[in-house]
Amino acid sequence: MQRILLFLYKIRAFLLFVLLEVIAIWMITSHNSQQGAAFFNSSNQLIGSMLGAQNDVVEYFSLSSVNKSLVDKNAELLAELEKLRQPADSVFIELDSLLSSTFQFKGAKVINNSLRLTQNHLTINKGSNHGIKQGMGVFNEEGVVGRVKNVSKNYASIISLLHTELLISSKIKSNDVFGSTKWDGNNPKMAKLMYVPRHVVVEKGDKIVTSGYNAVFPEGIPIGTVVEIKPGPETNYLDITIELATDFSKISYVYLVENFQQQELDSLYQSTGLKYE
């Protein structure tokens, strides 16, 4: 017995090493599940406030480009508003507001961002106090950004579209064929559109937008444009490369979208045994 104890004492450094590595690996695996422990990430209060303070300094460098993109978006929205404004002499039938407002939008500031790893995350400066919830869709004026992963009181962390395990339900705008957008981990400007069958005619320059099928994003938010089409390694599907609409190196403000009917849809899918990604 004494010998065993003596032996264990002799290799204590190695035992400690194994213990710490096991803890680290446990953290890696539990974090990579879609809903990790909320404490261990950058949406934590203390870390969020430090990142926020850093961002307060750095944001001045990107102010001019942020202003420009906001002005562009404003102009686009004004044009759209002009289209919707009713002419003076037509009959106007008001839709039931229950039907029209399925989605609610919120704005937030990005305080932390990465794009060079294979699993990238962002942190924003709003949390459960501002009505941010897990699973909300995130986009900016250019296109889709990601989905909310963890929420603390004042901060939230977001799985970026540049994350090899995030699938976004999408469709080709011109012919409504749908597939899933997934990042392959190489170039932060490019992604793949998967599960498009071979018989579909896809052209270079086709726009890819969100499909609205998974109820996270409303239909029609831009994702990217097709730049390359190849017959895929699997026989049934095309290998389509798209150029992302969002410039991830310049994200400073994002919008979050919540679907009021998400729960209802989810329970419907579950009871029928369907699963949408």
Binding site: A13, L16, F17, N112, Q119, T164, N186, P188
Partner: protein, 173 residues
Amino acid sequence: MSSSRILTLVTGGIFYFLFQVLILKNLVLFGIAFCFLYIFFILLLPVQVKTIPTLLISFILGLGVDLFYDTMGIHTAALVAVGFIRYRWLQVLVPTGGYDDDLMPSILNMGFGWFLSYSLPLILIHHSIFFYIESLGTDLFMSSVQKIIGSAIFVFIMSIIVQLLLYRRRRGI
């Protein structure tokens, strides 16, 4: 170790940590060369710091960096491995006459050749573990190798600059 010495080390650690997570985090050259300068806090601990304290320090430092990078556990796993090997590696590389007490194994104290053979393998081990775990589940072997080599060269050059600018001969920071 005197308490003032410990105080300098702790301050140095905090400095490395903040520099890493607030500034170097956003610095990636050519899309492949990351700068994980915080490893050098572990590498430049005084030579008589044994394996167990090194392991604990690397665990805490790695965890802190992980929180900011949102890469839970990956930095920790890689840095703890470096902390485990460091003391043994120092014993392998012991110069004739042994180490002085309280010596910091920096480039100023030990010379370029010794420092290269001391730090480069440890950097490569750290980077290999980090980028291997980080790219698990994808088929990005080649781009991981590029990142490992690019980052290792970058961080080594960066550490030489930092040591020449901020370290004094014989005693730290």
